[in-house]
Symmetry: C2
Subunit: 217 residues, 2 copies
Amino acid sequence: MKSRKPKQAVVLLSGGLDSAVALYYAKAKGYKCLCLIFDYGQRHRKEILRAQRIAKTAGCLHKVLKITFPWKGSALLDKKIKIPEKLSAGVPVTYVPGRNIIFLSFAISLAETIKAGAVFIGAHSQDYSGYPDCRPEFLRAFSRMAKAGTLGKYEITAPLLRKNKSQIIRLGKKLGVPFELTWSCYSGGKIPCGKCDSCRYRAKGFKEAGQPDPLIK
Amino acid sequence: MKSRKPKQAVVLLSGGLDSAVALYYAKAKGYKCLCLIFDYGQRHRKEILRAQRIAKTAGCLHKVLKITFPWKGSALLDKKIKIPEKLSAGVPVTYVPGRNIIFLSFAISLAETIKAGAVFIGAHSQDYSGYPDCRPEFLRAFSRMAKAGTLGKYEITAPLLRKNKSQIIRLGKKLGVPFELTWSCYSGGKIPCGKCDSCRYRAKGFKEAGQPDPLIK
């Protein structure tokens, strides 16, 4: 009997909780996943190392792609800008203009090359509503653009788009996501700072999901 | 009297003829231009050096951005694939999946950062109809995606889109484009090979425009 060739997908992996859940979701849907990890001048390398470990733990190949954002202006890239310690309204200072647009562009270029039929991204609009490149209308427009500008047909899949953090954590728990490997804190210390936006959303999510965060001893 | 702040634009510059005409067109429209040049593992560095000289000659600042396409598959990136010596039908082997999508994504990220209102690209659909990321429907879809995924409003302007090579050359002549600095040949020799797609289209264009090509002695 001829064995079926598994469906292939490119998965954007950041080292954070959301993209790890997106990866395990794609795997559960039967995709053979190639993880794409960006080294783009983040404040710390911890999330890149965590992304690589998550890919390996999931039994998937990965590529780390080094890109330069030669322009500053976001607290995630510029160490001179202080990461805020309270939940921000509107667009946060951690916004990097066009970041998801650039990441998705590389992902569809890779998908076209390896003939993958899907690209998975862990974006969700509820927690970080201030980032314009996480909005459902952006993802729809990106899919249409990708269809017009390439030869393939890539489904841009954002399975977490309508979920909040606690729903994402519950889904991840069900899928066996190794949460202890994920890193959400904007700082790269030994333990999460507990004060930045990302730490606060994570803590709130685990609390609401009724789960302990394995990173917090 | 308060002096008006000039309109700003990001211009994608490749070292070729088309993007040089797009730059001079943007200047003629009153834009202060920042040229964005990519070092993406081209077969030769000549076009990058030419792009830098064109920007300087036009009196514009420029940025060279190094990016990696870690996947092969195009004759423009992979020296093992031979550049064809006749005009190709359909999608040429020089096609790099998602190249313009990636270039434009960086351009709008830069435009958002410097608060430029326009992005210029020298794409035109008539000569290279085989490249899906030069088509008018792609550029329209990209503009819509950029509006949905960023905070700014960027006009993606492709002034050459409906022109053929001889019309582009005539326009460039009128605008004072230094054609002697532009480089179209896919090979990086001392003189153009005269055989690749790009050389043939250039020669045809100059002939039809009734102009001598200053690169051909």
